[in-house]
Structures are given as C-alpha cells and as structure tokens.
C-alpha cells in the first residue's frame, strides 16, 4: 500500500515536472543550439571548447529553471543581496591617482605612458573557420 502510494506520488511529481518542462518555451527541449553557443562565445569571449561543456551548461540551466516553480505573484524581485545596505556616499575629494608608473608595469606594451592596444576589436573567426570541437 505504502509502496503504491509512493509510486503514485513519484509519478505525479515526474508528471508535474514534465508538464512544467513542456510548458516552457520550445527552445527548452533541454538543448542549447550551436547558434546560441556561438553568440555567447562572441559576446563574452568564453570558449566552450567541448560538447561536455555545453552539456554542463544545459544541466545548469535546467537546475536553475526549477526556480520557476515558485509562485512569485505579488512578490518584489530581489535585485541585490545588498538591498538593505546603505549606499555609502563619498565626499568629492581627490585622494587617488598619480601612479602611472605602477599601472603601466602591468601592460604588455607601452608607448610613452600610453597603454598599447590593437587598432580595433579583433573579431572572433566565424564558425566555419573555427576548429570544430569534438562531438561525443
């Protein structure tokens, strides 16, 4: 009797979860498309590198999605864990700076106290030019 109750409970929980999953947007079949990966890599200059990394990303999204189960009607969103803190206001005095030498020490290349950078943003190579990562 107990076993059946548990089984029923489990099935309803799974059904609830599946139902919830299918209610979400069509993208969420659980897969993150190659297009989105490329877009993210370009934006954030991260390198997913392998299919395992993408799979890990998908799992992380699924994990976070469980938050949607919570009923938040009428509840103010939390924007910052600092929301109860006071934002400290500093007086308008000059207390820093004048350390060009120290800062320039970090630079790879320097010309007369200027940092040196390439002439513009260097675009990531397009998808087909990239080395395709190993698909499992």
């Amino acid at each position: 009797m107990r076993a059946r109750a548990v089984k029923l409970g489990l099935r309803s929980w799974v059904g609830w979860r599946r139902g919830f999953t299918s209610k979400a947007d069509p993208q969420r079949s659980g897969r993150v498309t190659a297009e989105v990966i490329e877009h993210l890599e370009r934006l954030a200059l991260v390198d997913f590198g392998s299919q395992e990394a993408v799979a890990r990303l998908e799992k992380a999204i699924a994990f976070a999605d469980r938050l949607r189960a919570v009923d938040t009607d009428g509840v103010e969103p939390l924007e910052s864990v600092l929301e109860d803190r006071c934002l400290y206001l500093r007086s308008d005095n000059v207390v820093e700076g004048n350390c060009a030498e120290v800062l320039l020490q970090n630079a790879h290349r320097v010309v007369e106290e200027y940092f040196v950078a390439p002439p513009g943003n260097i675009s990531l190579p397009k998808q087909d030019e990239q080395e395709p990562f190993s698909h499992n």
Binding site: L82, L87, D92, E96, Y114, F115, P119, G120
Partner: protein, 557 residues
C-alpha cells in the same frame, strides 16, 4: 551660376522638395547646400527654410523627419564617479587613474556624493520626477578604452525620468520671429565615461589613456520630438546653458564635456515611423545641425530611390560634410545588462522622509537641493525683458555669449544711460568689435566702467553719437585712457555754445542761398543738405537735433 536644383528643404515641420537657386550637387563628398547664416545669438549653423511652400508639390513628396538625442554631459566634480582620482582635462597620460579606474582585481566602486547631487539638480531643473530609489547596472562590451569590459550605468531605474526642456527656434527670416518648443526628456542617468583612444594608423596600434575612464557622466535622453537639425541644435544649446547655470557641467563641446548622439528617421505624414539610424559623436555645436540635416536628406534620397534604410550606426565626417557607416560595429550589440552586484540601490530622501538622526553626509534631501537651485537661463531672460523692456531676441543674445550678461549688468550699474541704449551698444557695437577680432568678453580691452563712462557722456549730450563711436574705437585700440581723456584729446566735445552755433547756421544759410530756396519751396531733402553743411562747418561737434531745430526756426522766420 548653377541651374536651379531640386532639394529637400525644411518648411516648418515638413520636408518638401523644392527648387533651390544655385547650390551644390547632392552627392558624396559635396558640402550639402543649406545656406548657413551665422546669426548672432546662435552658436550653431542656423538652417533657413529656403523656398516658399508655393513652389513645392504638396502631398506627393512630403516627408516628416524625427530626431531624438542622447546627450552625455561630463559632471563638473573634483573626483570621478566611483573613485577618488582627479577629473581634469589636460594631464599627463594615465596620471589621473586609480586602481579601480584601471580595473585591477579587488577594487570596488564607491559613489561620489557630488555626482548624485549634480544629477538631482539637473533633473529638477528639467522638470523631471526624481526617483527616490534608483539602481546601477553593468553594460558589457569590449573595447580597449573600457578596461573592465563593462560600463556602470543606470539602465533599469535611472535617477530622473519624464521631464521637459523648452527651447526657442526661429520661425521666420527676422530674428524677432521666434517660437518656443518643448522636447520631452525620457530620463537622466548617471554613468561612467570611458578612456580615450588615440588611433595610430601607420603603426597599426591604438594608444590608450585612462585619465577619462570613470569620470561621471549625465546621460540626458531626449524623446524624438524634434524634426530637423536646427531644432536639435537649439535644444542642445539651451541644455548647455542650463547645465552651465547650474554648475553641474561646464558643457564645453570643444573639450568633450558635452557629446551628442542623434537618432534619426523619416516617414510620410500619417504613416508609421521609419527605420532609424544612429549618428554618433556629434561633438561640435557648429556641425550638429548640419550632420542631422545631412542624414535626413540622405534617408529621404535613399527612400525616394526605392532603397531601404539600414538600422545602423553612422558617424559624421566633418571634412566631407557627410555621415558614414561606422566600422567595427558588427550587427546589433547585445550589452548583457545585469545589476551591478557591488552597489546597493541609491536611495534619496525629501524633507518628509528624512530618517531621524541620520548622518547628513550620507543622506541626500531632494527638497533641500530644490530650494537652492540657481536661476535658470529662462528665468534670467524673463527678468531682463521685464526689468529693462528688452526684446526677447536680445535677451537670448546676451545669454549666448560667455560673460556678456555680466558685462552688460556691470555697465548698467555704473551708467545713467537708458537700458535700451546700453543694450544696443553692448549687442551691436561691443559685440561687433569682439567678433571682428575673435575675442571673448574676458579678453575685451574695454572695461564695463569705460563703456559706462562713455555712455554717460553720450547721455549728457556732451558728445554726439558719431563722436561716441570714434571714442569707442580709440578705447579699443589704446588701453588705459578714459573716455573723457580721449574726448578732450580729440576735441570731440559737442558745442555747448548755442550762440556760436546760431552764428554758424546763419553763415551757412547766407553762403548757400539756393539750398535755402529749395527748402522754402518744400524740398524735404534740402534741409539735410543744410544740416550736413553745418555739421562740416562745426567739425561734427554739434548735436544734429539742435542744428535741425535752429535751422528750422531760422527758415520759418
């Protein structure tokens, strides 16, 4: 002389196809032929409605242009928005940079109180609602002059919203034909400035100076309520004057303290808005209107020829006088906005909501700031009109030149002459001399006291109007001499001896009987000839009105 060319021109709010006499060809690289007339009182290229509406074909080819602006004003403060390094225009590269500005790990932003006050003042002056709670966000993009890879700004909930800015535009050919327009202000937000990039094309590198990185900016977003370059330029000019009056920004475009981006689109009246383009980095008051008008014309031209407008970012090439697509912008940017995790919400108070026993240094009271707002340009102009009976266009002209109003008020203080006389002398003669020699009011060789003394002499009728102008010229050339000195040196005093003057008149009349006859016969211009003769005889040292009276009396007897 080129044959009349059909060109789009702005008549009121509408852009119509009309004939323009002469003018350059519309094409890449050609300066677009809007006749610019440098009007006194306007620092931007004022655009003229060139052709009357009768010549245009109404309805068929009418376009309406829609212009919105995003204006970045550097806050006038000692230190930066989130760090304690100095804000200063010219300094050795990277000498005004703190560890936070250089985005070294482990550094955190600390908000500058002065910048918040500046934002509140500006919001109040522009009739905005000040948000008692505002939030900071990160706007991510990659560029070498943005060391952190993101800019701290206020995207979700800015410090001030829903304001308005009133400005004046010329609606006719005469300077007196002005009308007031209003543009809505969407929001005002606090944000960081980026560093400066110096492009070294030959060596294929960019040099980065972070002195400017982290300086506080006020971004003022104007709704697309404007319809041409002149309106946009006037609105920007008025905003500049307001910021300068408040002291929140020096708003000097030449020094990069005020930068404007324009969003421009065109559409047929009654139809939905067209695709807009963004023209970035309009940093010159002179070219602001020109650039916007060029872009409007370009868009109309493209659409008229069946092509589409791309939603792109363009920049204005000052030398060629045209907008070009900006390189390095691949598609639409995704800024991945996220809340700034290191800053709690910014809470502002008013007198009613001040927490008791709070540290005054840590609390900002909106009411306290409102009570201490300085006088705004519109108020100042109104006072001038009421107090001195000045024409509105003169009040604009006085406020339009740095230091001119103060000069004017100092002259008024020390002179007995009528305000209208002072206004006329300051705006016509004094300003004329300044412009001719490209000087600022501060560089003027003539002091307010000197001009006041000169006007007193004129008022007392000690010298004539033409003599006064001579004295002024001499004052300008040779410093140190007072007007009285010059008058006696050059013997410019008006003859005070009535009898002597009568004798001169008598002599002249006797010497020119024919002219006297002409006058008696009713020739109106003959009396002027007599007056001229008397004036020559007295070496221009007699008051023309007195001469006329004496002559008329003698002639009628």
């Amino acid at each position: 002389m080129a044959a009349p060319v059909k060109r789009w021109s702005c008549v009121g709010k509408r852009w119509v196809l009309a004939y323009i006499d002469g003018g350059s060809r519309h094409g890449r690289g050609a300066a677009i032929g809007f006749t610019s007339r440098r009007k006194r009182g306007q620092s931007s290229v004022a655009q003229q409605p060139l052709i009357t509406a009768q010549k245009s074909r109404k309805g068929e080819h009418e376009w309406e242009a829609v212009v919105g602006l995003e204006i970045h004003a550097q806050i006038s403060s000692n230190s930066k928005l989130f760090s304690g390094s100095q804000v200063h225009f010219a300094a050795p590269p990277n000498s005004l940079v703190s560890f936070f500005d250089a985005s070294l790990p482990g550094t955190l932003p600390v908000l500058n109180r002065r910048c918040v006050e500046a934002a509140v003042m500006t919001g109040l002056a522009l009739n905005c609602r000040i948000n008692k709670k505002s939030l900071f966000d990160r706007k991510h993009y990659f560029y070498a002059d943005l060391p952190a890879g993101y800019q701290i700004t206020q995207q979700r909930l800015p410090i001030a919203v829903n304001g308005s800015l009133a400005y004046s535009v010329c609606v006719g050919k005469k300077p007196s034909q002005v009308s007031t327009k209003t543009v809505r202000i969407k929001q005002i937000q606090l944000e960081q400035d980026s560093g400066k990039s110096l492009h070294d094309e030959p060596r294929s590198q960019t040099l980065i100076d972070l002195n400017r990185a982290g300086v506080g900016l006020l971004e003022v977003v104007l709704e697309p309520d404007m319809s041409c370059g002149e309106e946009a330029a006037s609105a920007v000019r008025e905003l500049q004057l307001i910021l300068q009056a408040l002291g929140t920004s020096q708003a000097n475009m030449a020094e990069g303290q005020l930068r404007v981006d324009a969003n421009i689109s065109v559409h047929h009246p009654g139809e939905p808005l067209g695709v807009r383009t963004e023209v970035k980095n309009l940093n010159s008051a002179r070219f602001l209107a020109k650039a916007i008008d060029f872009e409007i014309e370009r868009q109309i031209h493209e659409l008229e020829n069946g092509r589409k407008i791309l939603n792109e970012t363009r920049s204005f090439d000052y030398k060629l006088g045209c907008t070009m697509p900006m390189r390095d912008k691949e598609g639409k940017q995704d800024y991945r906005f996220m809340p700034e995790p290191n800053l709690p919400p910014l809470l502002l108070h008013d007198t009613a909501s001040l927490p008791p026993g709070a540290d005054p240094q840590q609390v900002i009271n909106i009411d306290w700031i409102r009570e201490r707002l300085p006088e705004l340009p519109s108020e100042t102009r109104e006072k001038l009109i009421q107090q001195y009976g000045m024409l509105p266009e003169h009040s604009f002209a006085l406020l339009n030149e740095v230091g001119l109003l103060e000069f004017f008020q100092n002259v008024i203080k020390e002179t007995r002459a009528e305000p209208k006389k002072v206004t006329s002398w300051v705006l016509n003669i004094f300003l004329g001399f300044l412009k001719q020699q490209n000087l600022t009011v501060n560089e003027s060789p003539v002091t307010p006291s000197a001009l006041a003394e000169l006007l007193n002499l004129l008022d007392r009728k000690a010298i004539s109007s033409s003599a006064a102008k001579q004295v002024f010229e001499e004052l300008w050339r040779s410093k140190g001499k007072t007007p009285s000195q010059i008058v006696s040196e050059k013997k410019l005093e008006l003859m005070q001896d009535q009898e002597a003057l009568e004798r001169v008149c008598h002599t002249v009349m006797e010497g020119h009987p024919q002219v006297v006859m002409d006058v008696k016969r009713g020739n109106p211009r003959a009396i002027n000839k007599l007056m001229g003769l008397v004036r020559k005889a007295t070496l221009s040292r007699a008051d023309p009105t007195v001469i006329k009276k004496i002559l008329e009396r003698k002639l009628s007897s």
